[in-house]
């Protein structure tokens, strides 16, 4: 029976049998529609990408004030469109490794201070010029210059000098950094002719699609770039379009009505409903983003580690994951790293809800009275509910939490990183080092738990310069345990990216780095014939 079905599914993939006939045959053979559909999908994949057509995405996160300059890309729409027209030196592959794009190879000196990137030959910009090492250096220069206001300024601040030489770009760092290649995968660092110094908004790079429509806050369009250097592998559709749909209901309706082929940001509470819609597939990827409860380690009463530990033990993470994210995530362990990062140690013990132990430590801390927790709808979807659930689990340990609901406007300037106990979110970074350096070293602007330990800073710096991966992994394990047991961070869960694709969309590969296959959904996917 299955042989016959398999044969038939291949005939569908080749276009010799209609989908409807196939499903009819499958039903006659007693196979459920779900199994039959998945057989079809497998056959379509085996058949390879279908070229041509038009792929459309409906995305949240675009405003009419957006510009094309990749240095200023902050919201999801520009991020996704940037992946259509832009080409980076390297990209993060779905398994967390690096995929070499414009940089054919990257090597370093033994002290991880001087990095040499060999620039691939035969890569062409949309304006017909070839990509040169000079363009690469100019791009990095522009982003490293404060005047560009680039969001990548921070990650380039470690660069001491750079130059182009032959077919290589050579970067010298101020301090050793074994993660340098990963930094080059930052989505802002789109390689532009002369670094985009002439016109950063021109939308010209070496990506699979040329910019044809640029209507900020409304829609963006791209047309296949005939000379894309790996056009056989990526960029299957002739045209791609992004429609900005900030309203979640409108986004879902557009997917159901067939006006778009894929959407981002499906809300956890409606995932089960979306799953029932014929032809729609919910696409999840476990990401690196998490929703922390931040305590200031240097402000009373949170300067007492017994109290911090009591507050950590009084959190019922399983309950929060189930009720707030409907299970679309993984429980956190009170340090900012999870298995989606390279060099993660999976054997660190998970913290369990333990009200008795929490009550005991709370008594030991000597604190009395209620503890003020600030939350807001803008901290993350469900943040107010999460605070209330936490209040209840704390009550089981005899800890009184008082919740203050703050207005969304001004939360990021007045509450987050200003008040000693509040809810927030972090998007995650490409490497463990980036995450720790952004928020958990003494000098960091965004040290939102006031975690200031000179010995920890030293560990971060040492691990950054270590080229031996095993040693590095062990260092990161030690750091994780210190943070978990002494830090000011309570992590209920890491959230998943939840996107959805519509009828006939094939080729989706989940990527933990970001939503929408790390922004590549439009260039990776195709519509089955």
């Amino acid at each position: 029976m299955s042989n016959e079905l398999e044969f038939l599914s291949q005939r569908v993939a080749k276009g010799r049998l209609t989908r409807r006939d196939f499903l009819g045959r499958a039903a006659a053979l007693g196979v459920t529609a779900t199994v039959a559909n998945s057989m079809l999908a497998a056959a379509a994949r085996a058949e390879g990408p279908v070229k041509g057509g038009m792929l459309k995405a409906g995305l949240q996160g675009g405003e009419s004030s957006n510009v094309l300059d990749p240095a200023l890309n902050l919201s999801q729409v520009n991020f996704n469109f940037g992946k259509c027209w832009g080409e980076l030196l390297v990209e993060l592959a779905p398994d967390g490794s690096l995929e070499h794009r414009i940089a054919e190879s990257i090597g370093s000196s033994d002290d991880a201070k001087v990095w040499t990137m060999k620039i691939r030959k035969g890569v062409e910009f949309h304006d017909g010029k070839s990509v040169t090492p000079e363009d690469v250096v100019a791009t990095l220069e522009r982003h490293a210059d404060e005047a560009s206001k680039s969001a990548a300024l921070g990650i380039l601040s470690g660069i001491d000098s750079m130059k182009a030489s032959g077919d290589e770009a050579i970067i010298t760092l101020k301090e050793a950094n074994a993660d340098f290649p990963y930094l080059m995968a930052d989505y802002h660092l789109v390689i532009q002719p002369n670094g985009g110094k002439d016109n950063p908004n021109a939308g010209i790079s070496a990506g699979p699609y040329k910019v044809t429509v640029d209507e900020p806050g409304v829609r963006y369009g791209g047309e296949k770039f005939a000379n894309y250097w790996q056009g056989d592998k990526l960029g299957h559709a002739d045209q791609v379009e992004i429609i900005v749909i900030n309203d979640p209901t409108a986004r879902t309706a557009a997917l159901q009505g067939g006006q778009v082929n894929m959407v981002n940001r499906v809300e956890p509470k409606i995932v089960d409903l979306i799953k029932r819609v014929p032809g729609v597939t919910v696409q999840t990827a476990s990401g690196r983003g998490f929703y922390p409860f931040n305590m200031f380690c240097d402000t009373a009463p949170f300067d007492n580690n017994d109290l911090r530990m009591a507050l950590k033990l009084a959190m019922d993470r399983e309950e929060l994951l189930e009720k707030i994210l409907r299970g679309y995530g993984t429980v956190g362990n009170d340090f900012p790293i999870n298995e989606a990062y390279p060099l993660f140690s999976t054997d660190i013990e998970l913290r369990k809800f333990d009200p008795e132990k929490a009550a005991e430590l709370y008594k030991k801390s000597g604190h009395s009275g209620s503890i003020l927790l600030r939350t807001s709808d803008v901290a993350f979807p469900g943040a107010v509910d999460a605070a209330q659930l936490y209040q209840q689990s704390c009550a089981k340990a005899g800890i009184t939490i008082e919740i203050k609901r703050e207005p969304g406007d001004g939360y990021w300037s007045e509450v987050w990183n200003k008040q000693p106990f509040s809810l927030s979110y972090w998007g995650g970074r490409a490497t463990q080092d980036q995450m720790y350096s952004t928020a958990y070293v003494s000098s960091a602007d965004w040290n939102d738990t006031r975690w200031k330990r000179p010995e920890f800073d030293k560990m971060v710096a040492t691990a950054r310069g270590e080229l031996d991966q095993d040693k590095r992994k062990a260092m990161y394990r030690d750091m994780a345990e210190i943070m978990r047991d002494e830090g000011g961070l309570i992590v209920p869960f890491f959230n998943q990216y939840i996107d959805a694709s519509g009828k006939g969309v094939q080729g989706w590969v989940a990527n933990p780095a970001q939503e929408m296959c790390n922004g590549h959904a439009l260039v990776r996917c195709w519509l089955e014939a």
């Binding site: 004030s65 206001k149 300024l153 429509v213 309203d247 557009a254």
Partner: protein, 319 residues
């Protein structure tokens, strides 16, 4: 047309212009007291003090308020609305597309809503206090009582998702044919029609009923005219002034008050454009859009006033 009318019209227009100046001052003061610093919101949280100072200088934020007001006003009077702080685009050209879209949607809704509301109002009067009147009122009031987003989502659910007659999102762009555009805005225009219908319908009904109490209506009835004829020939012309007023008010609403409908149907109009730029504290854009909205309101009110005068013989022929 006699000169007193011309004089009245000139007076109204002059008053409108004075009002517009007053509004421009209010808008400027309003954007001045918006919390948050423009330079800070452009550069973000990690901005250095030097960068902030440089940007403030560049934007002329260090000048006193009245200097900036006069500079802005001068620009507006010479047709220059300035450039958006966030994107550097010319505001006038960005707005013109958006404004055209908004006017198109408003026109589509008005073309259906205004005649329909007046017709329903007339019918309600003709069959007043009967089942037809009750049914019309119930339908119109119900459609107005539901919030716009609810009506919008209902339309999307049935017409876009279930039956797929119309698209769920109303993206329009240059190069789209007129028919395609109509097809795209069908659902938002319907939603807007339902929202403004009741107000105009009820007002028409009330105004005509008011006139129906007059002695000359009784005369008309007694001389044997059919009920609809009485309404059309004698009652309606005398009720035009209040009806025009409420129609203009609703037209203004269709242009300046449709943010929610624009968001639900992802329609690229003025509302969404304004909201995006308020969030970014992009003051020149907020001022420009505010001024345009104010001008629309004032203009439509002048039209309402003048129509009321023209429609009223007592005002047309002063003693």
């Amino acid at each position: 047309m006699s000169s007193p009318i011309l004089k009245l019209i000139v007076q109204r227009v002059a008053l409108g212009i004075v009002l517009l100046f007053a509004v421009s001052l209010l808008i400027f003061v309003g954007t001045e007291i918006l919390p948050g610093d423009v330079a800070q919101s452009i550069l973000g949280q990690t901005a250095t003090p030097q960068a902030l100072a440089a940007l403030r200088e560049e934007l002329g934020l260090n000048d006193p308020a009245y200097v900036r007001y006069l500079r802005w006003l001068g620009g507006v009077l010479s047709g220059d609305l300035g450039t958006a702080l966030t994107s550097g685009h010319d505001i006038a050209s960005s707005i013109s597309d958006r404004l055209a879209n908004t006017l198109f949607l408003a026109a589509c809704a008005a073309v259906v809503a205004v005649p329909l509301a007046i017709l329903l109002g007339l019918l309600a009067v003709r069959y007043r206090n009967g089942p037809v009147d009750k049914a019309i009122s119930a339908f119109a009031l119900a459609s107005t009582s539901f919030p716009e987003f609810f009506i919008g989502y209902l339309l999307v659910f049935f017409f876009a998702v279930k039956w797929q007659f119309f698209p769920a999102i109303s993206t329009v762009f240059d190069g789209m044919s007129f028919i395609d555009r109509l097809h795209a805005v069908a659902l938002p225009a319907t939603a807007l029609t339902l929202v403004v219908l009741a107000h105009m319908m009820r007002m028409t009904r009330a105004a005509i009923l008011n006139v129906m109490q007059s002695a000359y209506i009784e005369t008309a009835e007694l001389k044997g005219l059919r009920p609809l004829e009485v309404i059309r020939k004698h009652a309606f012309p005398n009720a035009i002034a209040p009806v025009v007023n409420v129609v203009m008010l609703n037209l203004a609403y269709l242009i300046v008050g449709v943010v929610v409908v624009e968001v639900i149907f992802v329609y690229p109009g003025m509302g969404q454009y304004l909201v995006d730029h308020v969030a970014k504290r992009d003051v020149p854009v907020v001022q420009a859009v505010g001024l345009i909205f104010a001008a629309v309101y004032i203009l439509l009110n002048i039209v309402a006033d003048i129509s009321a005068i023209l429609a009223n013989p007592r005002l047309r022929h002063p003693k």
